[in-house]
């Protein structure tokens, strides 16, 4: 199975700014890989290096065995990238924008027009095909850019925060599309919407201050956290003794216990006997994210 491999990949912009710090990563080129992290964590820098638009300062990276520095030309035959701050050109229509990008990729004019119409249809924005981009809403503009990548022949697609600024409905529509798309192509997606990563991603990477803190699917990340279950106690709680786990005050003010499956069952029985309202759930990606980025969920009680 082809892979993306990073070996001690680092990027330093200047003396004081280390954007990526010895990233080691191995990803199978299927499904969706989502890189989550706060603003400035280094997500865009990693995308730019892997999509051959930025040179690393140290280390190496390979896509399907091809070095991103010495074999960039070969890699560019296989990839498409939608940068974070990209915008469709105001004086062009979506159809012109998509078809021009396809022509840059080497498709004939006729084929480009055909593919752009198909992509617009797939994204449900055919009615905007001939409207100037400057008159489109922010959400439609983002969809047009995603359509450029979808319409291309690239089997590896880099989407840098594609849903930023989209309303919930547009975001949901784009998610549906990406869920279909990931069956046939590999999508490297960055986002700071944890829900988005949870819904779309087969594997998730957590990046913080240029360091890759953890990689895995949701189940693996839960296991790495050590406490795969969360008990949220609604209302007041009398003193409760836990054998294994961590009690914290959640962001919503409720008491939250991170614990193992066995302990969750035991505590659940106690809480039922006490007639305390509670819920037991697998820990969410948000819990995992804050756990790995050392952000305290609350104070231990």
């Amino acid at each position: 199975m082809p892979e993306i491999i990073c070996k001690n990949l680092s990027k330093r912009y200047d003396k004081d700014r280390l954007a990526l710090d010895k990233i080691n990563l191995s990803l199978k080129l299927n499904g969706v890989f989502s890189l989550i992290g706060r603003n400035g964590a280094g997500k865009t820098t990693l995308v730019r290096i892997l999509s051959t638009t930025l040179l690393p300062s140290a280390g190496s990276a390979y896509i399907d065995g091809m070095n991103v520095m010495s074999e960039a030309g070969k890699i560019r035959e296989r990839i498409a990238v939608v940068p974070q701050e990209a915008r469709p050109i105001g004086w062009m229509t979506p159809k012109e924008m998509i078809s021009s990008y396809l022509m840059w990729r080497g498709f004939s004019y006729r084929e480009s027009i055909k593919r752009s119409e198909e992509a617009l249809d797939l994204l449900g924005i055919t009615k905007f095909a001939n409207r100037l981009s400057q008159r489109l809403s922010g959400g439609t503009k983002r969809k047009v850019l995603v359509a450029t990548a979808i319409a291309s022949d690239a089997d590896i697609i880099f989407l840098d925060e594609p849903t930023t600024g989209l309303d919930p409905i547009s975001r949901g529509e784009l998610w549906d599309l990406l869920l279909k798309l990931k069956k046939t192509r590999f999508i490297f997606l960055t986002t700071h919407y944890l829900e988005e990563a949870e819904i779309l991603a087969d594997r998730i990477g957590i990046l913080e201050n240029g360091k890759l803190l953890s990689v895995g699917n949701l189940h693996e990340l839960r296991n790495k956290m050590g406490y795969p279950y969360s008990i949220k106690i609604l209302g007041s709680v009398k003193e409760i003794k836990i054998n294994k786990g961590r009690i914290v005050k959640g962001r919503d003010g409720h008491t939250q216990i991170f614990t193992t499956e066995k302990e969750a069952r035991r505590l659940g029985s106690i809480l039922i006997k006490r007639k305390t309202r509670f819920s037991i759930n697998p820990v969410s990606l948000e819990d995992i994210f804050y756990y790995f980025t050392k952000e305290e969920v609350g104070e231990e009680s």
């Binding site: 040179l55 030309g73 498409a80 990238v81 940068p83 229509t93």
Partner: protein, 247 residues
């Protein structure tokens, strides 16, 4: 998949010229405004005696301002639209992208060039060799301007800065030097200052071709050579300085 190089070139031309002109015709006024306003002013002030020189000047200015326009356009598409990053991460090479963009500037200048060519046919009496000389000088000054535009686009990271640069360069290169008037109108020793600008050489070739001035064959060869040196030097610097992939 076999990539179609002609399509890749055409993409830049469509994006930067054809679609811009088709969807926003008001942009065309910009290409016509500056060369024609100078032409009209010079013609009126000279009571028509410099009409022919001004037509040639407008032809040269059109080539210069559109060649220099590459700077603003490259900067806009790279820094504002992040389009260049999408193109870098695609099978298009830097050479194809930039060549297409340079040609697009020429296409963008076509409406002005066509109108000026009509005026030239009406008001200039040219031999076939004269026509070839003028067209040659225009092509050469366009290459020099594109090289300068490309060079300055590598220096500017901000579109506002780059448009300011473009306007300034266009004035310095085509409004101040003896493009719309004869170099003999400049008193000595200031005349030598005019030779700092490459447009002076192109204008001299064009004015000689139309019979407005008479320069020796040696000076003519020198004019062509200096234009060629300007083009090569600035293209070389621009290629050396420019970065397709960021570091």
């Amino acid at each position: 998949m076999k990539r179609n190089v002609a399509s890749q070139l055409l993409a830049s031309i469509l994006v930067n010229a054809v679609y811009a002109m088709k969807n926003m015709p008001v942009m065309l006024i910009n290409t016509l405004l500056t060369p024609f306003s100078f032409l009209i002013v010079i013609t009126f002030i000279s009571r028509g005696s410099l009409l022919g020189v001004a037509i040639e000047g407008a032809l040269i200015m059109t080539m210069v301002s559109n060649g220099l326009g590459l700077q603003g356009d490259l900067s806009h598409l790279k820094n504002d639209m992040k389009l260049q990053e999408m193109v870098v991460g695609s099978p298009t090479s830097a050479t194809i992208y930039l060549t297409g963009m340079a040609i697009s500037e020429l296409i963008y200048a076509l409406p002005a060039l066509i109108l000026l060519a009509i005026l030239a046919v009406l008001f200039l009496s040219l031999t076939p060799f004269g026509i070839i000389s003028i067209v040659g000088a225009m092509v050469m000054i366009f290459i020099v301007s594109v090289a300068l535009g490309f060079f300055f686009s590598t220096l500017t990271a901000d579109v506002i800065q780059s448009f300011a640069f473009g306007g300034m360069l266009s004035t310095i290169l085509s409004a101040l030097p003896p493009v719309y008037y004869l170099i003999t109108y400049i008193p000595m020793p200031f005349r030598y200052l005019a030779y700092i600008s490459p447009t002076t050489y192109a204008a001299e070739i064009a004015q000689n071709a139309a019979g407005f001035i008479n320069i020796s064959t040696t000076n003519l060869v020198l004019d062509w050579s200096i234009l060629a040196v300007f083009a090569v030097v600035f293209l070389f610097i621009a290629i050396k300085k420019s970065r397709w992939v960021d570091i």
